[in-house]
Every structure is written in C-alpha cells, then in structure tokens.
Amino acid sequence: MKPEEIEKLSLDELLRIADDPQITVPDGLADRLQDIASSALLAARGPEALDDQPRPTQAFGHPARWLWGAIPAVALASLAIALLGGHPQPLTPEAEAAYTELERTFLSFSEALQSGYETFSTPYTDNPNIPSI
C-alpha cells in the first residue's frame, strides 16, 4: 500500500483488518513478543527480576488455616473462665429476657468475627487501615 492510502485507513477499517482470519499469524509470534516483555522487565529491574519473589499474601492466610487453631483456643479460654470465675449467676429470672440477652451477645460475636475476617482477608498492602511503614 502507498503511504497516502494507509493514512486514509480509518480506525474501523484497521480493526476489521486486525480481525481478518484470512491473514495467518506466524507461529511463535506471541512468544517473540513475550521475549520483548521479558527483556523490558529485565531492562527495567535488572537481573534481580529473576529472583523468586514471594507473592503478597493475606496477613493471616486463608481463614480456614487459622480458624482451626482459634476454635480450641476459644474453648480453652471459656473453660478457664468457667473454672476460675466460679459459677455464672443468672442475670434475669425471666426466660424471654434471658433469650434476648443471649441473642444480642451472639449477634455481637458475629459482627466482631465478620469485622475481623474482613480486616485479615485484605492483603496488608491494600488495607487502608494499616499504615505503610
């Protein structure tokens, strides 16, 4: 094509050509372009870019990992409180009021757990609540 003809090609025409399946792409082009990307990263960061960098991880890992440790810890703490703190005294003689109190307590547990989970499931680099060092 002549330069004047190329200049006249609209973006739509260029995009149509880009999708033309009749023009076969040479084998290995993607690899050769990836070599450019590899080289660009090496040029920018130096050969140290080849070091095995650990990926940023969640501060406490997946909840499934630490939850199994947390459950016996909570059970042990509850047992210690029960043994050392004596017998629990009833707060109210009314069953309905006791149930409401219990429900409120569990709700606060649930909210605290949810809040904790959200904090620790955010990678520390993305967590706005943790100041950068």
Partner: protein, 156 residues
C-alpha cells in the same frame, strides 16, 4: 502504567497488530519487525500510557505511522546520507538502547531459557509453580535461574 498492566493490556493485541502490519506492508518479516518496533516504542513510553483510554486504538495509530515510515524508507535510495545530516547527536533514548541490548541478550539464549523467562517474568509464576508445570525439580530450576541471572548480568 506498571509493567504488569502493560503486559496484560498490550500483549494480547499482538496478533491483530501483525495482521494490520502485514496487510499494509505486504511482507511477513517486515510486518513482524514493525510490530516488534511498536512494542519497544510503547515500552519506552510506558509512563505516558496511563493517559491512554483505548490501548488498541492507540497501538493501531502508532503502528500505522511506523508502517508509513517503513514504506517511505524503502523509497529513500540514500537513507544513510540524507538521515545522517538530520539526526540529532544524542541518538536513541537510553531506555530504548538498554531495552534493545537486553532483547539481543535474551534472543541469544536457548529456547528453553527464554521459556523460563516468559513463565517467570511475563506469566508471573514462582519457581515452585514453574517446577510443577514443567515437571522439573525446584532445585534444578533454582540452579537454572541462578545461571541465567549470572549470564544476563554479564551481558546487560
């Protein structure tokens, strides 16, 4: 723009860019060279790519200009004499020079080493993940990367 963003946004455009270059230039080798020149140019201007809203349109526009330059250069019978008078003294920007030097070193590596570079640098895989993928031991990979690093260190 970060290198990772560049890789994820611009590398997948390669096939389409090649087709355009081929249609315009009519030569497979020239088309591939033009696309590679484009990627080097894009990389050198990495910082300015943040303001680009449509990477595909931007790449097409740059590629079109590169192809026009190539066609005009074909018609120039004495490019060395004419250009030497017009070229600025400072030559290509240092980042471009460094990239081309690194690219030459990477291209001189065996295919297996280049594959390791792609997996680690472009795909972002750890040594352990590459070991799982290739069936090599992690220790063997660590040794391979160590040698690769020393080799490139001496050449870049």
């Amino acid at each position: 723009m970060t290198p990772e963003e560049f890789i994820s946004l611009y590398l997948p455009l390669g096939d389409g860019l090649y087709r355009v270059a081929y249609r315009v230039l009519g030569s497979r080798q020239e088309a591939e060279d033009a696309v590679q020149d484009l990627y080097i140019k894009l990389w050198v201007d990495l910082d300015s790519l943040d303001s680009i809203r449509n990477p595909q349109a931007w790449s097409m526009t740059l590629l079109r200009n590169l192809c026009i330059d190539r066609i005009r250069a074909r018609g120039d019978r004495h490019p060395a004499v004419t250009l030497a008078e017009d070229l600025p003294d400072e030559g290509p920007p240092p980042s471009s020079e460094r990239l081309e030097k690194t690219l030459a070193a990477v291209r001189a590596l065996p295919a297996k080493s280049r594959e390791l570079l792609r997996l680690h640098l472009v795909e972002g895989l750890s040594y352990q993940e590459i070991a799982q993928l290739t069936g090599q031991s992690e220790l063997a990979l660590r040794v391979a990367f160590h040698r690769l690093k020393n080799k490139l260190k001496s050449q870049i």
